[in-house]
């Protein structure tokens, strides 16, 4: 119950006029970012990060996280009205959302999407409220091997859960690790992979990579697809909202399943995108009205939206408690925390109590404010999408360039952003996933430090990762997740047979040495 008292104090922190204003601004900016092609949660927050340096950390993180909630909401608008997923996790929403809009049920689809998003996010915030302090308390006992094991789990679940080819996921991840190693090695003081270029001394900042890969890369992709927005008119009538709300309780099981899938995928972290697909697939499999899916069925909007938002929100749990972000956007928020001198991790819950609980309280408030805002302002956002791309595209490029420059006040970063943009375009087209690259770039130094310290403890023996129950469990879970696709295939193949499990246990045996 101590947590509830802490949460109430958090509300007192978050509920000042100033913070409510930042919340409102954040949500509006977030929806705008979510609606515009080329700007998403991750790079939008990255670009706006420098603007918050003059604010107090609590206000700043409230605004930035509200931008994130806004972006999560905004992605659904373009999916439903224009059949263009504003964010990757909204792809599954287009399956039933756009057909509904074509049938003149856009208002119903959007109400269902926003409400489900809200429910998913709310569920995840409740999970964070009660689980985060426990995880943080637990993580206080973590040593370097445990930290490395959790990071290993992060990367294994990316490979196992990814919808992209696993080898490409590994390649993308290793590029991230290699880029993270560039620059001054803080342990030995040696220069690594700078090849005599002074610009590389600082290494690559992941914010630049995020802005380039997701921003410029997305713009190039959009140009290629020849964006002609042929949208359906978007307007939400209060009567339709009430009618839709009356219908939604029927799908409580789908919602609950979506919440659980989302929280699991957000924390482990598989990410919001696979969560939304998985939830959609499960909803269809278990539905009594299977044939309706894909032709404009409300349940087909409820399932992915709930899961995506539960995942997007719960991705903040490992970021706050362990300092390990579950998604690129969570990584950018983590970068922000570091800049304000707040070290995410278990100690944050002890040392900066009012900050943590203020943030958690703002998650509740931000999602309520967000739901009200998106329900009332949809026509505006739809109008923004009707601005021709020949105006929007150069403006977004300018915004990205400014964002890249302000990270370190360096022109070199702007040039690097361009390089990352081309890489992002090619990788997206060849199905190399970008999220593991960014996360490896963020976590590279941390993972390396944890690995080195573990090796120091064990004098170079890998066995330290199985030296006690805790670290061994995490590592084994990681290996299981890594081979998950292989295992589920084997299980599928043996279905009906008597010996499915015993057989494939051996398949997951040797863990690849990282």
């Amino acid at each position: 119950m101590e947590d509830v008292a802490n949460l109430m104090q958090g509300f007192a922190v978050a509920l000042t006029w100033q913070n409510l204003l930042f919340m409102l601004v954040g949500i509006l900016l977030g929806v705008l970012i979510g609606v515009l092609p080329g700007l998403g949660g991750a790079n939008g927050v990255a670009i706006l990060l420098p603007l918050t340096f003059t604010m107090s950390p609590t206000s700043a993180i409230i605004m930035l996280s509200c931008i994130y909630w806004g972006a999560l909401f905004g992605g659904a608008i373009t999916s439903i009205l224009f059949n263009i997923p504003g964010e990757p996790w909204s792809v599954a929403t287009t399956f039933d959302g756009y057909p509904m809009a074509q049938q003149g049920r856009a208002g119903e689809a959007m109400t269902a999407a926003f409400t489900s998003s809200f429910i998913g996010a709310f569920f995840a915030v409740v999970v964070i409220t009660f689980l985060a302090p426990l995880v943080a308390r637990f993580a206080l006992k973590f040593g370097p091997p445990e930290y490395f094991a959790v990071q290993f789990l992060t990367f294994c679940s990316f490979i196992g859960m990814s919808r992209e080819p696993p080898v490409k996921t590994i390649a993308a991840m290793m590029i991230g690790f290699a880029l993270a190693a560039v620059g001054l090695d803080t342990v030995t003081g040696q220069l690594r992979m700078t090849f005599g270029h002074t610009e590389l001394l600082q290494g690559f900042d992941f914010l630049i990579a995020v802005i380039g890969l997701f921003g410029i890369g997305e713009i190039l992709l959009t140009m290629e697809e020849g964006l002609a927005f042929k949208g359906v008119k978007g307007k939400i009538d209060p009567r339709i909202v009430l009618q839709t709300w009356a219908k939604l309780p029927k799908y409580w099981l789908t919602s609950l399943r979506g919440c659980l899938i989302g929280c699991w995928m957000g924390i482990t972290p598989g990410g919001a995108t696979p969560a939304s697909f998985m939830s959609y697939g499960m909803a269809r499999r278990f539905s009594k009205e299977k044939e309706k899916f894909g032709s404009g069925h409300v349940e087909g909007v409820v399932a992915p939206e709930t899961a995506a938002h539960a995942a997007g929100t719960s991705a903040l749990l490992p970021m706050l408690t362990l300092g390990i972000p579950g998604s690129p956007t969570a990584a950018v928020l983590l970068g922000g925390l570091l800049i304000w001198g707040l070290q995410p991790g278990p100690l944050l819950f002890v040392e900066k109590k009012e900050f943590v609980w203020g943030l958690i309280a703002s998650m509740y408030l931000g999602n309520i404010v967000g739901l009200i805002i998106v329900l009332t302002t949809v026509p505006w956002w739809a109008a923004i999408l009707r601005i021709p791309f020949s105006i929007i595209a150069p403006v977004i490029v300018v915004i990205c360039a400014i964002g890249a420059y302000t990270v370190h006040n360096s022109f070199f970063d702007v040039a690097m952003m361009l390089v990352f943009g081309v890489v992002g375009y090619v990788f997206k087209k060849l199905k190399y996933p970008l999220a593991p690259l960014v996360l490896a770039l963020v976590l590279g130094d941390m993972a390396e430090t944890a690995f080195r310290q573990s090796m120091l403890l064990s004098k170079g023996s890998i066995e330290i990762f199985w030296s006690n129950g805790l670290v061994g469990t995490i590592m084994t879970l990681a290996v299981v997740l890594l081979y998950w696709p292989l295992m589920s295939k084997v299980v599928e193949g043996w279905r009906g047979g008597m010996q499915p499990f015993r057989r494939n246990k051996g398949a997951g045996a040797p863990p690849p040495a990282q």
């Binding site: 690594r192 190039l220 150069p394 420059y405 702007v414």
Partner: protein, 171 residues
Amino acid sequence: MESQAEGRAAAGGLATRWVELVVALVIVGGGALVIKDSMRIGTDWGPDGPEGGYFPFLTGWSLALSGLWLTGHTLWNWRRMAGQVFASWSALRPVLAMLLPTIAFVVLIKLIGIYVASAIFIGAFMMWQGKYKLLPALAVAIAIPAAVFLLFELWFLVPLPKGPVERLFGY
């Protein structure tokens, strides 16, 4: 037959298999570079623990091996991928129409500062790609940098790169 398939792909656009192959080879090369550099600083066990190249060495090998795998995978499926197009030539044209001006824009930032470069970039792109008249293009081209100037230089006090024009106004 091989050359026929090639001809078809070439007529339609950039063949996927070539892009896959080049990217995979670049990954192998990148991995080799990482391995080479980590060997330079030592990948072994120093007097006080793992040397600086210890972790990058493993990274480099993983990178190079995944690149080799992808190279092999592409070559193995070379014939099956014959018809696949990375992007048709007609689709690549708008991509270049975006990319080349963006490169020019970045170079301009270096030369004359970000505000004037943005104005030129937005205005020129609108007139060239959007076929706008001079007046609306000029309006957007001036409004956006002006808004950025207010927001960054004056309100949030974040300095952006400036050039001779800004100096005329005393900034």
